[in-house]
C-alpha cells in the first residue's frame, strides 16, 4: 500500500506538513514537524532510487486517471536521483538551520518560515517526479513563490528588494515557460511528457515546435540563472538568510537544469533540439562566456555570499556544457556536476553561514584571520574550496574530469581548453578567502569569536565529508548519473 504510493507521498508529505506547521503556530513544534517530514521524504526518495534501480521506471497515475487524461508521475533513474539529493540537502540544511534561523529571523515568524521552507521543497520535488508538463509549471510556481518569500526574510532592506527583482524576472521566465507549454500543447494535443514525445514527430509544424522549445529554454534559463539571464541570482543569494541561501543555492537551479534535461531528452529529441535549432552552440557560447564573466566577477567580490553566488552562475555553465554535448558522456558529466556542485556549494554556503553567525557579517574583510579562531569552520571552507576548484580526491574533480574527457571525445578542443582555463579563476576566488582566513591580522571581533556551535558544524561536515567521499567513491554519484544518462538517451535514440 505505502510502497505503491511512494511517488505521491514524496510530494504530499511536505505539502501537508506545511499547513500543519502553520496550525501549530510555534517555532519549535513547526521545526520538529518539518524536520520529521524532511527525514521521511529523504527516506522515501532513497526507497525510490532503490526501487527504480531494481525494477525500472515507476509510473504513477494520480487519482487513477490514466494519461493523457490524468496527471502522471514518472520516476525514472534521473528523477529519483534528483529527488534523492534535493531531499537529502533539504534535510541536512534543516538540521543545520536552528542556530542560524534563531539569529537571523524574528521568533514570531519561525513557524511560517519552516512552513515555507517545506513548500519550497514540495515544489522542487514535484518538478522532479511529475510527468506532466503543465504540472511542472504549477510546481515551479510553488517553489518560486516560496523562495521569493524566503529570500525576502534577510536582515537588510536589500532582501525584499532582491526578492522583488527575482520575482519580476522569475515571473517573466515562468510566463515564457507557460507560452512554450501552450504552443507544445497546441501542436500535440496533450500535456503528458511521454505522450508529447511520441506525437511530436508526427506533426508537421516544426516552426511552432521550435519556437515552443526556444521559449521553454529561455524560461528555464532564467530559472537556471544562465548568463546573461542571471541578474537576479547574486542579489537573491547574497541578501537571503543564510539557511535559505544554503538550500536554494544547492537545489533550485539544479532542479531547473533537470527540467531542461527532461525537455531536451525526454520531450524533444536531442536530434530535433540540437540539429534543427543550433541551440547547443548557442548554449555553449553563453555557457562559456558566463563561466568567464561570472568567475571573473567572483574574484572581485568582497562579500563572500556574493562571491559564491557568482561562482554558482559560472558553475551552471559547466552543467549546461555537459548537457549540450548530447551524448552519454557529456550528459553524465552534466548530471554528476549537478550533484557534486549541489554538495560543494551547499557546503560552502553552510560554512559561510557559520562565519556569519559568529562574526555577524558576510564581508570578507570582516572575516580576516577567522581561520585561527574558528579552525574547524575554516578547514571546512578549505576542503569545500578545493572541491570547487576541482582538486583530485574531491567531488569537484570527478565532474570536471568527466566534462573534460567528454569534451575531448566530442572533439571540442577549444571548449576543453577554455574550461580548464576558467577553473583557474576558481583557484583565484577560493584562495582569496583562504588567505584572508589564515594570513590576515584578526580584528577584535574575530579574536573574540568562538568556534561555530556543533549543531551547525556537524551538518556542515556531513556535507563537506560527502564532497570528499564522492571524490573518491563514485558508485552512487557518477554511477547513478551514468545509468540515468544512458536511460535518457536509450529511451529516445
Amino acid at each position: 500500500m505505502i510502497e505503491a504510493n511512494l511517488p505521491v507521498l514524496l510530494i504530499v508529505i511536505p505539502m501537508i506538513t506545511a499547513p500543519l506547521c502553520v496550525l501549530a503556530g510555534r517555532g519549535r513544534i513547526a521545526y520538529a514537524m518539518s524536520l520529521l517530514a524532511s527525514v521521511l521524504v529523504f527516506a522515501i526518495a532513497v526507497a525510490l532510487v532503490i526501487k527504480v534501480g531494481d525494477s525500472g521506471t515507476i509510473r504513477y497515475e494520480l487519482g487513477g486517471w490514466e494519461p493523457p487524461y490524468g496527471i502522471e508521475y514518472v520516476v525514472d533513474r534521473l528523477s529519483s536521483f534528483m529527488a534523492m539529493f534535493v531531499s537529502a540537502l533539504g534535510m541536512i540544511v534543516l538540521f543545520y538551520a536552528p542556530h542560524s534561523v534563531n539569529k537571523e529571523i524574528q521568533p514570531s515568524k519561525h513557524y511560517l518560515f519552516y512552513a515555507t521552507y517545506l513548500l519550497c521543497m514540495t515544489g522542487l520535488l514535484g518538478i522532479c517526479v511529475t510527468g506532466d508538463l503543465f504540472n511542472v509549471f504549477v510546481f515551479l510556481e510553488i517553489s518560486s513563490l516560496s523562495s521569493y518569500a524566503l529570500i525576502s526574510l534577510g536582515r537588510t532592506r536589500r532582501a525584499p528588494l532582491s526578492a522583488l527583482q527575482y520575482l519580476i524576472v522569475g515571473s517573466i521566465g515562468a510566463t515564457f515557460i507557460l507560452i512554450g507549454i501552450g504552443l507544445l500543447y497546441q501542436m500535440t494535443g496533450t500535456l503528458n511528457m511521454a505522450d508529447i514525445a511520441s506525437r511530436i514527430d508526427t506533426i508537421d509544424g516544426p516552426r511552432t515546435i521550435m519556437v515552443a522549445f526556444a521559449f521553454l529554454t529561455v524560461g528555464l534559463c532564467v530559472k537556471m540563472a544562465v548568463f546573461p539571464l542571471h541578474t537576479w541570482l547574486p542579489g537573491a543569494y547574497t541578501y537571503a538568510p543564510s539557511v535559505v541561501t544554503c538550500f536554494i543555492a544547492a537545489t533550485a537551479t539544479k532542479v531547473s537544469v533537470y527540467a531542461f534535461i527532461r525537455l531536451v531528452y525526454g520531450i524533444m529529441t536531442p536530434k530535433f533540439a540540437f540539429e534543427l535549432l543550433p541551440l547547443d552552440s548557442a548554449l555553449m557560447v553563453f555557457s562559456l562566456i558566463g563561466i568567464f564573466v561570472a568567475s571573473t566577477a567572483a574574484v572581485f567580490q568582497d562579500d563572500v555570499k556574493r562571491l559564491l553566488a557568482y561562482s554558482s552562475v559560472a558553475q551552471i555553465g559547466y552543467m549546461l556544457l555537459g548537457v549540450s554535448m548530447s551524448n552519454i558522456d557529456g550528459l553524465t558529466a552534466g548530471i554528476v556536476h549537478m550533484f557534486n556542485h549541489a554538495l560543494i556549494k551547499g557546503g560552502l554556503f553552510m560554512v559561510a553561514g557559520c562565519f556569519i553567525l559568529r562574526l555577524g557579517s558576510s564581508r570578507l574583510s570582516d572575516w580576516a584571520g577567522a581561520g585561527r579562531t574558528m579552525p574547524w569552520t575554516g578547514f571546512a571552507w578549505a576542503i569545500g574550496g578545493l572541491g570547487l576548484i576541482g582538486v583530485p580526491m574531491t567531488a569537484g574533480f570527478i565532474s570536471k574530469w568527466l566534462l573534460l574527457t567528454a569534451a575531448m571525445q566530442n572533439g571540442w578542443w577549444p571548449v576543453a581548453a577554455l574550461m580548464l582555463l576558467s577553473s583557474l579563476l576558481a583557484v583565484a576566488y577560493v584562495w582569496k578567502v583562504v588567505e584572508t582566513l589564515y594570513f590576515s591580522e584578526p580584528s577584535d571581533a574575530v579574536v573574540a569569536s568562538t568556534e561555530a556551535p556543533a549543531g551547525m558544524l556537524i551538518p556542515t561536515y556531513a556535507i563537506i565529508g560527502c564532497v570528499v567521499l564522492f571524490g573518491i567513491w563514485t558508485t552512487y554519484s557518477a554511477g547513478l548519473a551514468a545509468a540515468a544518462a544512458a536511460e535518457l538517451l536509450g529511451a529516445t535514440p
Binding site: P392, L402, L404, L420, W431, E435, F439
Partner: protein, 499 residues
C-alpha cells in the same frame, strides 16, 4: 606478508598511519616524532623488500578501484618508481630526525600539523611512484601540491602568504591547464592511460590520428604541465617556496615535490610516448633545448644569489633540468642518466639543505657573505657541504659524476653537441657557486664585528643540535657511497629502456 602486493598496500598505508598517529599523539611531541621515525623506518624496510622483488624482474600490481568508468586507481611497481620510492622513504627517516631537531631548536609552532602534512606528502610521493596509470599519477601529483601548501606557508606571515600564493598558483595552474589537458588528450587518442613498456602513443601515431606537430604540442603540454619539474618559465614557484622552514625545503624541494615532477616527466616519456617514438619523430629535441637553456640560466642566476637557500633553489632548478634533459633526449643512456640523477641529486641536495638549516639554527645566518669563517665552529656541517657540493657538481668521488656521465653520453649519441657544451658550462658554474661557500667558511677569518653587539655570543655557538648534524653527515657519506654503488642502480634501471 612478503607477497609484493601486500608490500605495496603496506607502503601506501604506512604514511597514512603516520599521518593519523601525528594527530593522535599531537600533545606528546616525543611520542609523536618517535612514532613517525619508527613508521618511516618500517616503510623503508617494506620498500626495500619490495625493491628486492622488483629488481628481480617482478612487476607486482595492485588494483584499488575504478574511480570512474575507464579511470582507475591502480598501482604497479616498475624500477623507476621503485628507485624513487626508495629515495623518498629513506630520506624521510633522516628528515624526520632532522626536522625534530630543527623545529625544536627553532621553537616553531603548529608542529603537529607540520609533521602531519609531511606524512601526507610522503604518501603522495609513494602513490605517484607506484602509479600504474596517468590518472592515478595525476591524483597523487595534485594531492602532493595541496598537502605541501600548509608546509610552505607554515609561518603564516605575509611573506609566507605571497610565497604560498606563487607556489599554489603556478603548480595548480600548470597542472590544471596543461597536465590535465594532456592527460585527457592522451585518453581521447589511446582510450587508455596505462603506463606501458614502449609507450602507448605509437598506436594512434601510426594510425595517423595525431600529426607529428601535434605530438610535439602534446609533449609540451606534459613538460610544462608538470610544473613541479620546474622547467623555465614554470620555475618561479621553487624559489618562492623557500619561505618554508628548512626541513620542508630539504625534503620537499630536494626530494619529494620536485622529484615527483621530473619522475612524472620521465615516466611519461618512457611509458606514454616511448623513447622509440620520440627518436623516430624527433619532436623531443626542442624540449631538450629548453632543458639546456634552463640548466645554464638557472646556474647563472644561482651565482647572483647571496641568500643560501635561494642559491640552492636555483641550483635545484638547474639540476632538475638535467633530469628533464635526460627525458627529453630520449635515448636509453640519457633516460638512465636521468633516473640515476634523481637519486644522486636527492642525496646531494638534501645534504646541502640540511647544512643550510643547521647553519641557520646554530648561527642564525642566511646569507653566504656572512658565513666566512664559520667553518671552524661547524666543521662537520661545512665538511658535509663540501662533500655534497662535489657530488652535485659531478666530480668523482661524488655520485653525481655517474649520472652526468650518462647524460653527456646521451647528448653525444644524439649529436647535440651544444647540449654537451651546456652540461660542461653548467658544471663549471656549479663549481663557481658552490665550492666557495665551504672554502671561505674554512679559510677566511671571521670578519670583525665590533659594530654588532651580538657578536659576543655569536662567536660562542658550536655545531647545530645533534639531531641536525647526524642526518647531514649520513647523507653526505651516502653521496660518496653512491659513487661506488652506481652499478646496481644502473642495472636496476636498465629494464625500463630495453624491450
Amino acid at each position: 606478508m612478503t607477497d609484493p602486493v601486500n608490500l605495496i598496500v603496506l607502503s601506501l598505508v604506512l604514511p597514512l598511519v603516520a599521518f593519523v598517529m601525528n594527530f593522535v599523539l599531537g600533545n606528546r611531541p616525543n611520542a609523536r616524532e618517535c612514532s613517525t621515525v619508527v613508521i618511516a623506518t618500517i616503510l623503508f624496510g617494506v620498500v626495500g623488500l619490495l625493491a628486492s622483488s622488483v629488481f628481480d624482474g617482478q612487476r607486482p600490481e595492485l588494483f584499488v578501484s575504478e574511480m570512474l568508468p575507464g579511470f582507475s586507481i591502480a598501482f604497479s611497481v616498475e624500477p623507476l618508481g621503485m628507485i624513487f620510492a626508495l629515495v623518498a622513504s629513506g630520506l624521510w627517516i633522516l628528515t624526520t630526525i632532522y626536522g625534530a631537531g630543527y623545529m625544536r631548536g627553532h621553537h616553531e609552532k603548529h608542529q603537529t600539523r607540520f609533521f602531519g602534512c609531511f606524512a601526507l606528502a610522503i604518501f603522495a610521493a609513494i602513490a605517484a611512484a607506484f602509479s600504474s596509470n596517468l590518472f592515478t599519477m595525476f591524483v597523487a601529483y595534485e594531492l602532493m601540491t595541496v598537502s605541501t601548501y600548509p608546509l610552505v606557508t607554515h609561518h603564516g606571515t605575509a611573506e609566507a602568504k605571497s610565497g604560498g600564493r606563487i607556489y599554489l598558483g603556478i603548480l595548480l595552474s600548470t597542472s590544471i591547464a596543461f597536465f590535465m589537458m594532456a592527460i585527457a588528450w592522451t585518453w581521447s587518442l589511446c582510450g587508455t592511460l596505462d603506463f606501458k613498456q614502449g609507450g602507448i602513443l605509437n598506436v594512434p601515431y601510426e594510425a595517423g590520428e595525431i600529426s607529428t606537430l601535434a605530438l610535439g604540442v602534446l609533449l609540451g603540454l606534459f613538460a610544462f604541465g608538470i610544473g613541479k619539474a620546474a622547467l623555465m618559465p614554470m620555475h618561479r614557484w621553487l624559489p618562492a617556496a623557500m619561505v618554508a622552514p628548512t626541513p620542508v625545503s630539504a625534503l620537499l624541494h630536494a626530494v619529494a615535490v620536485v622529484k615527483v615532477g621530473v619522475f612524472s616527466l620521465l615516466k611519461v616519456v618512457v611509458y606514454i610516448f616511448g623513447i622509440d617514438l620520440l627518436q623516430a619523430t624527433g619532436v623531443n629535441l626542442w624540449l631538450a633545448y629548453v632543458a639546456g637553456f634552463t640548466i645554464v640560466v638557472a646556474s647563472i642566476i644561482a651565482m647572483t644569489k647571496d641568500n643560501l637557500k635561494a642559491r640552492l633553489a636555483y641550483s635545484t632548478i638547474g639540476q632538475l633540468a638535467y633530469i628533464s634533459l635526460g627525458a627529453a633526449l630520449a635515448t636509453p643512456d640519457s633516460v638512465i642518466g636521468g633516473g640515476m640523477h634523481i637519486v644522486m641529486h636527492a642525496v646531494g641536495k638534501i645534504t646541502l639543505f640540511f647544512c643550510a638549516g643547521a647553519i641557520y639554527v646554530a648561527a642564525h645566518k642566511k646569507n653566504i657573505s656572512d658565513m666566512a669563517g664559520l667553518g671552524r665552529q661547524m666543521p662537520w656541517t661545512f665538511g658535509a657541504f663540501l662533500v655534497a657540493s662535489v657530488s652535485i657538481i659531478g666530480l668523482p668521488p661524488g655520485g653525481g659524476a655517474w649520472s652526468k656521465w650518462f647524460l653527456a653520453v646521451g647528448t653525444a649519441e644524439t649529436h647535440q653537441y651544444a647540449l654537451t657544451a651546456a652540461l660542461m658550462i653548467s658544471s663549471l658554474l656549479n663549481i663557481a657557486y658552490l665550492v666557495p661557500i665551504p672554502i671561505q667558511a674554512f679559510l677566511k677569518p671571521r670578519p670583525d664585528r665590533d659594530s654588532n653587539h651580538d657578536s659576543d655570543h655569536s662567536h660562542d655557538h658550536g655545531e647545530a643540535p645533534l639531531a641536525c648534524v647526524i642526518p647531514l653527515v649520513i647523507t653526505a657519506t651516502l653521496s660518496i657511497v653512491l659513487f661506488f654503488a652506481a652499478e646496481p642502480i644502473y642495472q636496476a634501471l636498465l629494464p625500463i629502456v630495453s624491450e
